[in-house]
């Protein structure tokens, strides 16, 4: 017995030194803090034409849809040439294995029907790895002339479902179309789909026009024009292209007009006697009130989406900086503190960020910062970038980029809020001063 006891004692003591090989307590816990950022691969076989003569339209809609998604930089299309399976009928079940094999994570199928001048587009979105549909299939219909809008609507739905972001493809951009050399620039207002299609001209180039801005519903555009020989602000109705001036005192200059979210109030800059301040005017009554009273330059105002605050630029500190004040005027609070000069602030439609132009060390940047000025991030750098405008979902910024030198000209560029996917926006000729419309009904 003693023998055994001793053995057990030794054993027990030895066990005490052994690595405990008992069962685990609780699950294995790990933390994933880093991942990859890569475009999500998707496959989109041509939408199926379900009526005679719809073939070309179906192919076009498929193409626009795909370009919308890949244009965001967040998606990557797996070319149709790589598809194993095919979709010949909208209602036949999906062979997920075919799409998994080519590593498509999302699959979009659709059908197009044309009847007279009406076109109907329907689609389904599949999560390939889960082997199931993602959300319900939907159907849109409209005129054949507006087929691009329907492609954008489908793309918006797919985009929102997968990323969780708000949609933005079904929108337009108003801008200044430019021709001629730097010392003889002709400018006129133009409007186009966000992707550059369907360009129309809203004014002629007989006088300088600057910095148009959409109304909150996208039905009107405010802009500055020199047609009287002096810069004055005008409001233009997009549908009728009719316009009228907003009356300001004789001998003054007014410019940089922007709508308040209520679509009624216009905030702008008035320059007289060498001093520029910010004013607000009721667009119907024409009554105006002065919001800033400082001997410095105050300009480029922009409303917050809830209409309660205005961000603007002022050089009261000695250099251009950004300030925020209540919408009715009042003590402004400075929010920019970096090295350099800040201008053209624009409040994001999501209310969370302010985009701006920054000049520093001879370079221009488009940047964003939180509404209290923190977390400043620069997204671009070049000889001359300025005038950002937000997409309706607050995810993408479009701006003007001008190249230097005698041959220099302006173009529109867009960039994702993360700084990725910087690319040129397709326009007919040189372009500047873009303003992005809200999502169309």
């Amino acid at each position: 017995m003693t023998h055994l006891t001793r053995l057990i004692a030794v054993l027990a003591t030895a066990m005490a030194f052994a690595v405990p090989a008992t069962a685990q307590d609780g699950p294995l816990r790990i933390e994933i803090t880093e991942g990859v950022i890569e475009p999500l691969p998707f496959a989109i076989p041509n939408f199926v034409p379900e009526s005679g003569g719809a073939g070309e339209l179906a192919a076009n809609i498929t193409r626009v849809l795909s370009e919308d998604l890949t244009g965001t930089g967040l998606f990557r299309e797996i070319p149709q040439s790589a598809h194993i399976g095919s979709v010949t009928s909208f209602s036949s079940p999906v062979q997920y294995a075919d799409w998994k094999a080519i590593n498509a994570q999302a699959l979009i199928t659709g059908g197009v029907t044309v009847q007279g001048d009406r076109v109907t587009v329907k689609f389904r979105l599949y999560d390939v790895f889960s082997g199931q549909e993602m959300g319900d299939g939907l159907q849109f219909s409209g005129t054949t002339a507006g087929w691009r809008r329907m492609a954008h609507k489908v793309a918006d739905t797919v985009y929102s479902r997968i990323t969780g972001e708000g949609p933005y493809f079904d929108s337009r951009v108003v801008y200044v179309s430019e021709t001629g050399p730097k010392d003889d620039r002709r400018k006129r207002l133009a409007i186009m789909d966000y992707d550059g299609a369907n360009t129309q001209y809203l004014t002629d180039s007989s006088s300088i026009v600057l910095a148009p801005r959409f109304s909150p519903t996208g039905d009107r555009v405010l802009y500055t024009s020199y047609e009287t020989g002096f810069p004055k602000i005008y409001v233009l109705d997009v549908a009728s292209v009719g316009r009228r001036t907003l009356t300001t005192p004789e001998g003054t200059m007014s410019f940089a007009p922007r709508f308040a979210p209520n679509g009624q109030t216009v905030v702008y800059s008035l320059s007289q006697g060498g001093n520029t301040d910010i004013y607000a005017m009721d667009i119907n009554s024409g009554q105006s009130v002065q919001l800033t009273t400082a001997p410095s330059i105050e300009t480029a105002p922009s409303f917050s989406p809830d209409g309660s605050q205005i961000v603007f630029e002022s050089d009261r500190s000695g250099s251009q900086q950004l300030y925020v004040m209540p919408a009715g005027g009042g003590e402004p609070r400075r929010i920019s503190f970096g090295q350099g000069r800040y201008g053209t602030p624009v409040w994001s439609p999501r209310g969370d960020l302010i985009a701006f132009t920054k000049q520093s060390k001879g370079r221009f940047h488009i940047g964003v910062m939180r509404t209290d000025g923190s977390e400043e991030r620069l997204l671009t750098a070049s000889f001359l970038d300025e005038g950002p405008t937000w997409s309706p979902n607050g995810r993408v910024i479009m701006f003007t980029r001008e190249t230097q030198g005698e041959q220099g000209s302006a173009s529109l560029y867009s960039v994702d809020i993360s700084g990725r996917n910087l690319k040129k926006v397709r326009t007919e000729g040189a372009a500047s001063d873009p303003s992005w419309s809200p999502l169309q009904n």
């Binding site: 320059s271 006697g273 060498g274 520029t276 300009t299 201008g343 005038g387 030198g405 001063d433």
Partner: protein, 167 residues
């Protein structure tokens, strides 16, 4: 008879002006028979061309500034002189900026420069009612290279004459 009529007309024409020496003894019939000054040409000290080329219709500014340098003031003194001599002109002072700035700010800056010129001319005796200001910001550069030698020429305020006396 004819000569008398003409002389009368000349006297009357001259009488309307304060110190008008616009019309010479030769009332614009025949080109400068005296051979000296052609009215309306750059030779004519009372012509806008003369104002532009000999007096100097513009002043330049430093980057981001709207203060007048000494040389600028010298030019503006001459401008003021001319304007008071030729009182039947009004002027629009155009302010400009170079391209190294954002659009709205440059508009405002041009306005500051134009206003600086205007206020100085007023201190020199020119009637305020004759002077208007406008700003073109960076929209109307005259030099288009993207270096300082061009930029400095674009940072300007130009006094543009317009005929028409203030009644």
């Amino acid at each position: 008879m004819t000569r008398a009529a003409l002389t009368l007309m000349a006297v009357l024409a001259v009488a309307a002006c304060d110190k008008g020496r616009r019309f010479d003894n030769n009332v614009n019939l025949g080109a400068g028979a005296n051979g000296a000054v052609v009215p309306g040409s750059a030779n004519d000290p009372a012509s806008p061309l003369y104002f532009q080329q000999s007096v100097g219709d513009r002043v330049l500014f430093a980057v981001d500034q709207h203060t007048l340098s000494d040389s600028a003031r010298a030019v503006l003194n001459a401008q003021a002189q001319w304007l008071m001599t030729n009182a039947d002109y009004t002027a629009v002072i155009e302010g400009h900026a170079d391209e190294q700035g954002t659009r709205e700010y440059n508009l405002a800056l041009g306005g500051r420069r134009a206003n600086a010129v205007r206020e100085y001319l007023i201190t020199q005796g020119v009637s305020a009612a004759r002077l208007k200001t406008v700003s073109y910001g960076k929209e109307r550069p005259i030099e288009i290279c993207s270096v300082e030698s061009c930029y400095e020429k674009n940072r300007r305020a130009v006094t543009v004459l317009a005929a028409g006396a203030i009644s």
